[in-house]
Symmetry: C2
Amino acid sequence: MSAHPPRAQVVVVGDEFLVEGRVDRNGPEMARILSEVGCRVVGISVLPDELDALSKGLEAVLADSTITLVSGGLGPTEDDRTREAVARALDIPMEVDGAVESKLSRRSAARGGGPAPEGARRQASRPRGAQLLPNLVGTAPALVLDSDRSLLFLLPGVPEELERILVEEVVPRVRARLGERLRPIRHRSVHVFGLPESRVAVRAAELRTAGHTGFETATFPGARGVRVRFSARGPDPNFLDAQVADAARNLVELLGPRRSVLLPATGGLAEAVGEALHERAWTLAVAESCTGGLLGGRITETPGASAYFVGGALSYSDPMKEDFLGVRRATLREHGAVSEEVAGEMAAGVAERTGAETGLAVTGVAGPGGGSDRKPVGTVCIAAWIQGKVRTEALRFPGSRERVRRASVDAVLSLLLEDLQATAAPKP
Amino acid sequence: MSAHPPRAQVVVVGDEFLVEGRVDRNGPEMARILSEVGCRVVGISVLPDELDALSKGLEAVLADSTITLVSGGLGPTEDDRTREAVARALDIPMEVDGAVESKLSRRSAARGGGPAPEGARRQASRPRGAQLLPNLVGTAPALVLDSDRSLLFLLPGVPEELERILVEEVVPRVRARLGERLRPIRHRSVHVFGLPESRVAVRAAELRTAGHTGFETATFPGARGVRVRFSARGPDPNFLDAQVADAARNLVELLGPRRSVLLPATGGLAEAVGEALHERAWTLAVAESCTGGLLGGRITETPGASAYFVGGALSYSDPMKEDFLGVRRATLREHGAVSEEVAGEMAAGVAERTGAETGLAVTGVAGPGGGSDRKPVGTVCIAAWIQGKVRTEALRFPGSRERVRRASVDAVLSLLLEDLQATAAPKP
């Protein structure tokens, strides 16, 4: 039994990620699932639709991988070349599955879309030896090519089809095939307030000096605070979960609860805020200016957020700040819309008007326009209101409009989390 | 002079994209910029921090690339192995730049973070022959390795540092080095309503039969409608811009303005909505339930959105729908919160209360919980209100919570865009 987990690679096929700046989400999701199952993922590759470049890219990947997941390029159009490129990369001939071809032709005819014979034929072709996987949602036939040396899956690019086939087909087959060689990985993170990354790394290293081992740490600087991730690999996922949770709790003990928060097993700052609110049976409302909804969107990513999130106001214009949130005209006039004073009134206003125990507000200059000498692009004022007490901060973030807005969301969640740490949670 | 543009590849270094499911945005952005400048990007690779896997992955990439951009792994910590991995992949020795080392040590000491001698030494090391690039924002020294055969950039992973160095250092050097071989690519897209993707592809192909050439088309099915992308490559970007815009306009002419909209040169549905509102000097307000802010967040991605977006309400709870939007209790009771009737009242309510000419609303069951037989997970009701007239639709989207919410945003923007097409725009 080897101590090294099997090497895995993930491939995403699609020109739109290469020429248009579109962000791929399938690759990271496939890689995460393979890591969790117990593979060591050594690469995600995004490759073009074009046959030569695709088969060349696949050849390089397949030469260095035991498990390979390829997503996309299985449709009926001329641009769908994944099957052919795999055959070329592995030097296997193509075959046509007559039964699949006539089934696809019938289905296409039944839809009234005409017979589309080339499309059906293309989708019914496959590298010799590939087996059809039941594709439960869509129409693109998924394939598996299981050889002595490696296990290769060709999967649909449509995310909802991919999600389901990963869980229902790919994971069970990887487990069945590689069972004892798999080494699942588990993570747990701590969010640390008010210390620079280098100091946090030093403190995390002290855990090891104190005799705690069996995990690795990594630090990630955030908009307001640093995340420390603890990771462990091994045969028993339950043991690993306990191991990384212990390590993370030890860091929180070392730094103190005013300085650090154990993040939930899945999710980040928004989920930690949700847990803290849930423990206190409190609710949250938000008032957003420059983030325009991103904060609410982030909070409601978590299923079940309606238990603590009541909603809020997108006060993108000054009249909205006055009418919907009760920000005083005098405050707007004296301090300007981007000010700690206005942020504080926004947070108080949205909490009071919705009856929530906590309120958050963001107002800032996201750019690229709208900056001034006193308030340059990137200036953001945030506020957290908890049962009548408000705390505000003025921050400045570098980078593009998108970066400033994302950083603002993280920062205001971190502010609330820090303040919630300072208010007693009821004992469970 | 070769007709083929130079092959380029992009590499992103970081374990967090491989094990935690984090989505990388640096890779697509670097690829987009290289395509725009005139390279043919044949791959984006995400590689781990670990030296063996990283150098092996880099070796495969560098064997097949004229221009290579690598982002990440240039920091001062033990996990920052990009410099070393490149040296190993290219079989070049490492050197230390004494001047850089002492500068970094002084800077570190000045910050009070201690001397951190290993970190400074690591950041001052580089593969022999690599030149330092001015890094204008941060501290991670960026490098360029210019050989007869290829041009390799090692760039910071921090997005705001990367953004700036791409524009100010990388693009000018690629242009200077490859000038005449570059073949910029340009795109323009059309959003089509109410036709299946296969029909849209057939209609787009008719343009060619009608004698229009010099571009390629690709179709992308959306939540409500299909996007057709026209692309062209050539030496003269201005000519290309005109060429793809002409092709796109020809499709709109073929399908008619009730069936199709020319999307702006940059951006998608939200930017098209912004343009249409701007032409009419109208404003927009939104009322969001299951999307929780994503719609507002999407609209305000566009710089200058405050010219037409006034804001809105996140009515995540029923009381919010009544109090902030004036949805009638009877409507909620009779039809339920997820209904076309409630969506319609939300859209009307938010527009009337903010004085906007147009209002949008979304209410739905994003899942994974909350579904019922009559309203299963994925059921979403959307509404567009324009100056007193409201149109609603009930849709059902497959997939995860995240997918349902993203699709809802696209769908409601498409609904408004379609309705705006049907209302006369003032002649410019």
